[in-house]
Symmetry: C6
Subunit: 270 residues, 6 copies
Amino acid sequence: MHARDFAAESLLIEEEPYYQPVGSEIALFEAAYASQIPVLLKGPTGCGKTRFVEYMAWRLKRPLITVSCHDDLTASDLVGRYLITSNETVWLDGPLARAVRCGGICYLDEIVEARKDTTVVIHPLADDRRCLPIEKRGEVLKAPKEFVLVISYNPGYQSVLKELKQSTRQRFVAIEFGYPEAELEKTILMREAGIDARTAEKLIKLAAMTRSLKGNGLDEGASTRLLVHAGKLIARGVEPRAACRGAIAQALSDEHDMLVAVDELISTLF
Amino acid sequence: MHARDFAAESLLIEEEPYYQPVGSEIALFEAAYASQIPVLLKGPTGCGKTRFVEYMAWRLKRPLITVSCHDDLTASDLVGRYLITSNETVWLDGPLARAVRCGGICYLDEIVEARKDTTVVIHPLADDRRCLPIEKRGEVLKAPKEFVLVISYNPGYQSVLKELKQSTRQRFVAIEFGYPEAELEKTILMREAGIDARTAEKLIKLAAMTRSLKGNGLDEGASTRLLVHAGKLIARGVEPRAACRGAIAQALSDEHDMLVAVDELISTLF
Amino acid sequence: MHARDFAAESLLIEEEPYYQPVGSEIALFEAAYASQIPVLLKGPTGCGKTRFVEYMAWRLKRPLITVSCHDDLTASDLVGRYLITSNETVWLDGPLARAVRCGGICYLDEIVEARKDTTVVIHPLADDRRCLPIEKRGEVLKAPKEFVLVISYNPGYQSVLKELKQSTRQRFVAIEFGYPEAELEKTILMREAGIDARTAEKLIKLAAMTRSLKGNGLDEGASTRLLVHAGKLIARGVEPRAACRGAIAQALSDEHDMLVAVDELISTLF
Amino acid sequence: MHARDFAAESLLIEEEPYYQPVGSEIALFEAAYASQIPVLLKGPTGCGKTRFVEYMAWRLKRPLITVSCHDDLTASDLVGRYLITSNETVWLDGPLARAVRCGGICYLDEIVEARKDTTVVIHPLADDRRCLPIEKRGEVLKAPKEFVLVISYNPGYQSVLKELKQSTRQRFVAIEFGYPEAELEKTILMREAGIDARTAEKLIKLAAMTRSLKGNGLDEGASTRLLVHAGKLIARGVEPRAACRGAIAQALSDEHDMLVAVDELISTLF
Amino acid sequence: MHARDFAAESLLIEEEPYYQPVGSEIALFEAAYASQIPVLLKGPTGCGKTRFVEYMAWRLKRPLITVSCHDDLTASDLVGRYLITSNETVWLDGPLARAVRCGGICYLDEIVEARKDTTVVIHPLADDRRCLPIEKRGEVLKAPKEFVLVISYNPGYQSVLKELKQSTRQRFVAIEFGYPEAELEKTILMREAGIDARTAEKLIKLAAMTRSLKGNGLDEGASTRLLVHAGKLIARGVEPRAACRGAIAQALSDEHDMLVAVDELISTLF
Amino acid sequence: MHARDFAAESLLIEEEPYYQPVGSEIALFEAAYASQIPVLLKGPTGCGKTRFVEYMAWRLKRPLITVSCHDDLTASDLVGRYLITSNETVWLDGPLARAVRCGGICYLDEIVEARKDTTVVIHPLADDRRCLPIEKRGEVLKAPKEFVLVISYNPGYQSVLKELKQSTRQRFVAIEFGYPEAELEKTILMREAGIDARTAEKLIKLAAMTRSLKGNGLDEGASTRLLVHAGKLIARGVEPRAACRGAIAQALSDEHDMLVAVDELISTLF
């Protein structure tokens, strides 16, 4: 275990992350970056949004600061706050201010989970003003041209209470993510889980079946990540059916009938 | 990246912002300003309300202080608060108090998003008392005649919970904003995105189609800002259909059927 | 811009405010004041409640302390709180305690907007105990006979959640306010907006039409204040129809059909 | 204006409060006091519950501490809290702890308005344990036999959300209050408002009419307090009908039809 | 009045509390205590749960710490917190930690009223881990074998929102309490209220009638405690019917019809 | 009673916990541990999830840190916070940070009870980033390969409001727990409660009956833990029927009809 501090250089992704492009997402991201328009990534969990951002950070050689958004994330958590210590009062930049200062990529993951003040605080950064007012310091940070704001969310989860307001989403260029094509997914599985082509194909067939059940008893189909999990367990010697039950079926659902149905799918494949 | 402090002179807009008048909004704003009546801007996102305020600030040569309102914005955030440091207790003016002191324009963007105490705190500033009581300091700030309060909101979003109370709105002169006429919008697009007239016309046709879908599957039509985004991507070499999908279709909606429909509109145009 | 501190003498209204009596409200207020019974003002926004209180403060030569109530106004905001500075802990009287100490008029505007603890904290001041317990200081302030509590609210807004409890309202003598008679309103308009009699009459006719729409598409009719706004814009050279649209129609409603209807009314008059 | 501190002797009621007994309430209170059982007063606003407690405090020669309960009243507000000053940390007894220490009467007015923790904190004081645990000081106060807890509420207001739990109410002996008999009320009115017998009789007739409207358009009928208000205004020279409208009709209701009806009642009497 | 500190010895019940066993509750409690299984007491208000715990504390010679649970009781209130004074930061054990340290009985009265974090904080103490993690001190308290956790609740009050979770209740041995048999209740009444056998019998008949009305207009029947209250008032000379009305009828209900009905029951008995 | 501090060595389970494997759960856990995939345990209360984690901690020789999740558990409670003492400001690692630093097992029991920010804070630890950003210190903890995150929940309790999001659950390999087979449960009962085979068999029959009532009047059937409780009471000499009523029937339900039914089951067995 070792601590990494937040200095800009340490936030650079040094090694090229393994990323398989699905369509024109790289070109679109680069054009938005060059035009200084922020980017919105849409798509289900486990389909590679986070990996894509890491890849683009490596490609553009920009520091990456990731924030997992949640119900209690406030504007101060993003912008910064004063910290009272016994000797002095110190200002501590939040991740958004840090990213602006160092001209990095600020990635707000699952933005719709955050409180509304968080989505509003990014507005002046997300239009052509490109500035971050830090009220508490009486300071306005002007973003350098290298700074880019990236947000993501999963449209499948959006409820009325947690939807992205038009005044927010109309500030972004959007890129949609889905599950990779079968051939591409097979390549990913073999490389990431260390399994053979046949096992990978079976897992992908299983995934396709669960994905077709989305909306018919399953909230989501099996993501590529789940297939990697099952593959890794199999590679460690776990019996394939047990691996698929633990890493895929049980991870997807708690419904008894659905679990029986997925178990049958598993038995027909392995 | 450089920090700009809040001293009044530094809040002046030095360069004339690009603004194309739509109707008599400039005359109306100037008469209200001269009569010391506050101004309310109404209209959808991305139609130029913020740009208009920046333009008027430049024209009237007044410092501009903008506040993006949100659920957690309190009266103290606007008025000011005591800051306890290790050596002393310092009063820090909020943006509203700062604007009053320097006789500037205080622009509260999306006022209905703020908590109710925020809308009440502006009442004494918004009638002929024109003063801001700062309870915590036992002080009453009297606004100079140059000070003007500007608020904005999007009537399309107003829910019962978040509507502007009559006792608030009846304190303002209201100016309504909409999308610019086609000719005007074309001029804006060509200048801001750097595209040719033909591409601009196609984008405007696409916008008109989405705007007619408002209330029939779309919450909002494409704003001028979205057209500028698409234009910029096209100018950077992105294939026009991909640019329109990312900057317009995906930015407007997550609904599969609606996305297919907008995609067809795009294909008939490009 | 100059700061006025809260010393009692500085809260006196030095100049007679322009106030046109509507009925026996002055006699009723003076009898309640002499009997040490608190006063409740009822009526729609913009009909002169605040001006009336300022007038009575001037007439009775009592300091006036006004508090705009809101959702987050707590009992401590009214009564006072300890302020911790680096050197010492200082007690800061709230506006209610200040008004009691200096025998002034404490005017709580839109009382129903305040939190319930606020309405309860005034109970001992509003019956024959006439005292304000300051729990945090272990002190009970006894109100001098000059002190009077005045509260206001708009019955048109009262929801079930925000109604004045019987145990509160039965402590007050109530005075109802409405729109002034046509002749009186004309005098007010000509004096406050600096317009001629004919324009004033037209504005009053327009107001009467909107007031008859109250409950039929409008939450409120145009108040006298709105007419003054329109008049001032006209006096500044704004075209009368544009002035009425901005200062009256758009200030009253966002509904498209209603705006068209009010616009037609405007066109028949100007 | 003079401050009265909370030392036990200063909380004694020195002068006999004017109180007209309605039934056996004095005997019942005295027996409960002698048996060390707490007392619950039930009844509508303005019928003399507070005056009765003041009278009993005078009669039993016990200090009286009154707390108006509200939504934000916490257990700490009642029991006490530490106060951090710059030099030291001081414990400040809340009103309940003060009353226990000095063997006084603690009167919690409108108890159902308080938060639930408040009603629970009185449980150990309200059964035969008769003690108040002060968790924050690690101290248990044992109540002396002179201490008595009195609570009140208005059954007419009780909603499902704000009812007194059985585990609370079954700890008290209950005394119900209503409006006084006509003869008694006449005596009270003449003495408190300084009016003649005929005016008093008319006011009582008016009160009886409004009381019969309770539940048929009025939430409450006119309390004795309202009659005293009207009487005082009349004694000050206000025209009787105007006095009744301001002090009774407008204080009871905002409904136009109801106000017209009560106005007619007033006109038939005066 | 004298303060008792929380040192373990001072929390011992020195005198045998008057307790009449109803069934095998003493044996069951002792076996659970010896097996180090926590105990859950169920039953309506006023039937002796608190008295039973005091009796067992005396019998087992263990210090007793009682906490009345409520909506705002947090885990920190139970476990402890740091207290910042001007000179140092002191840790203050909460009642639960105190009880664990001194091997006492911790009695959480009306546990379902507490916030959910409170019920979860007792889980590690309520299974065979028998430990209390104090996160804030980085300390795990191991309970000595003499420590026992007792909780109580009234099943009659349980709403969906406030029910004991299975993961909580399945950690306890449960003992149910009801009203005592008539003979036993008579003995209790005569001893506690100091009344003769005939009066006691009449009160018990009255109680039986009200208990049969539970669910038919009454939330609860009259508890033994209410009978003791009525008996004490009668012993002090209050007329029996007035005593029963104040101590029983009015304490049970506010409904006019129900009060008339109970009054008739009272009149047939006394 | 003795305090154990949180140093890594002291969190090791020194003695082998008594654990009877039910299926392939040990192999699955070990493969997930070796693959650095986090583990999700599903199953009803009292079926041994906590014991299993303790067993795996002993087997893998890793320190175990357990957190009982609840409504008020925040991200700061897990990650850590600054503690202001009078002399200095100290950072206090939360249990999650502690577990990461010492390469231990962090077990979040009943994760769905926690606030949403808690489930999000574990995301970067639960995918291949395996890091814990500590925003307040500007530090990113990288988890050593020995660290493993384990969470548990009871699918039977999941409500719409408290379900595990797909973006969370798809990060884990899931292991499902149920009640042990009869033979195994008998072995457990005899060993843990110290009862003979016949009594254990009767208890297991009783459990089976209650388990078949799940969803038909019972929220849950009797867990193994409840049988151990009843067995222990019987071993202490409590009459078997009374033991079963207190430890099983009353612990499962408050419904009168259900209690009568379970009592009859008990009577037919003992």
